[in-house]
């Protein structure tokens, strides 16, 4: 099979799936491959890797900072405190991996906004953390195809852990940990705008 033929059958198959699917799962899957949503058409490159990995680094910093503040909050205890104290260090490890991968191209960490308003009750914390995690996962999915293979090989094992984290958190709130059969991709701009609005990013 030539490269062109290969490209054609996969794309044709995806479009067939979109047309014939109807099911939410298929729709969600195809969102991830539709032109202009998430996956851009620029060929992966080292420069593009750096831009995307710095975006991810920013998201990991936002999560780590939030959970670090949550870990010390007097308004959280029990399972939610355990969650924050488990997940926070994991986000720090994710950030460390991204920094290592970026080397001298890693962007400096900016000041963490005060997210204390989300820590005034367990319910607010849980909802804010779910919104944060879901947005981060959608950004990872949206940009995954724009990474070189080497960069994606580094990132994929942490993206799945982000999904484990949100499933855990959803379960603590007695909402279904896996609400859909395929997770959607989102544009980074949309994710950044949402996180700024929520106060996780300056």
């Amino acid at each position: 099979m030539t490269r062109a033929e290969h490209h054609e059958w996969t794309r044709a198959g995806m479009l067939r799936a979109a047309a014939a699917g109807g099911a939410a799962a298929t729709s969600a899957l195809v969102i991830g491959v539709r032109d202009g949503d998430g996956a851009s058409q620029a060929a992966p490159s080292r420069e593009q890797d750096n831009a995307i990995l710095n975006l991810f680094l920013r998201l990991e910093y936002a999560q780590e900072g939030f959970y670090r503040q949550a870990s010390n909050s007097k308004n959280l205890d029990g399972d939610l405190r355990t969650f924050a104290r488990t997940v926070g260090p994991q986000e720090a490890e994710h950030a460390a991996l991204l920094r290592h991968r970026l080397g001298s191209d890693a962007a400096p960490r900016s000041d963490q906004p005060d997210v204390g308003n989300w820590l005034t009750s367990p319910r607010l914390f849980r909802q804010a953390a779910i919104d944060l995690e879901e947005a981060v996962i959608a950004a990872y999915i949206g940009e995954a195809a724009n990474l070189t293979r080497g960069a994606l090989a580094d990132v994929a094992p942490l993206v799945s852990v982000e999904a484990r984290q949100v499933a855990w958190l959803r379960g603590l709130g007695r909402t279904t940990p896996a609400p859909r059969a395929a997770d959607p991709a989102r544009r980074p701009q949309a994710v950044l705008a949402q996180l700024r609005k929520l106060g996780f990013l300056a």
Binding site: A39, D183, P184
Partner: protein, 228 residues
């Protein structure tokens, strides 16, 4: 209850054998002594460049289809056997949701592959989904294995549209794995990084389960010796 791990359905010989064929015996030998989950092991388990070049998207998608069919059949059969009906309400919701998702994943792979989709294998789960305990133990291990498979496969597909699609499935399988672990009282997210596995090593793990069997022969002309 101790947390089930991939090792439950992956004796060392299967993984070592697959890795030896992919990476050479020196590296496979190294893995035997590497700290489980350590950075060195994670790095060593990453798909080698030679193997990446040898695996086509068609092969990846068809293995994905085969694996999703295995999962879907496992959950569907457990429903038909009545195993899921014996569980608590929370566990029923878990098992039924995962079954529905895996069946949706099968439909997705089949539609994407079209006429290139391989035929459905024959499965025999033995007693693995006949009781609540056996079903749960197997499901937890299977979901963790799926995460390992997809985190290994997503980076090696050639078509970038498939990459995005596979990542969208990977995160759902990871949610399944976390949910399953929570059900049995294990840590839903035990480590900061999942451990990707190669297609060959997952093939070896699946073979060890003996869930995929030869289809029953129906062409014999001989009369059965015993008809009950």
């Amino acid at each position: 209850m101790s947390g089930p791990t991939l090792q439950d359905i992956d004796p060392d010989e299967a993984l070592q054998g697959a890795l030896a064929s992919l990476c050479g015996t020196t590296r496979a030998g190294f893995l035997r002594t590497a700290t489980l989950g350590g950075g060195a092991m994670l790095a060593a388990l990453r798909t080698p460049a030679v193997a990446r070049a040898e695996v086509s998207d068609l092969e990846i998608l068809n293995f994905g289809l085969r694996f999703e069919r295995l999962q879907a059949a496992f959950y569907t059969e457990a429903e038909e056997l009545g195993t899921i009906a014996t569980m608590s309400a929370a566990k029923q919701q878990w098992a039924q949701t995962l079954g529905a998702h895996e069946r949706a994943h099968v439909r997705i792979f089949k539609k994407v592959l079209g006429s290139r989709a391989e035929g459905r294998p024959t499965f025999d789960f033995g007693s693995a989904n006949a009781t609540d305990a056996a079903f749960t133990r197997t499901a937890v291990a299977m979901e963790d294995l799926t995460v390992a498979l997809l985190t290994g496969l997503a980076p090696i597909v050639h078509d970038r549209r498939l990459t995005a699609a596979l990542m969208g499935l990977t995160t759902v399988e990871a949610r399944h794995a976390a949910w399953a672990r929570n059900i049995v009282g294990s840590a839903p997210a035990p480590e900061a990084f999942d451990r990707p596995r190669t297609l060959a090593s997952v093939r070896g793990a699946v073979a060890q389960t003996r869930f995929v069997v030869k289809p029953p022969k129906t062409s014999s002309r001989r009369r059965p010796g015993f008809t009950g």
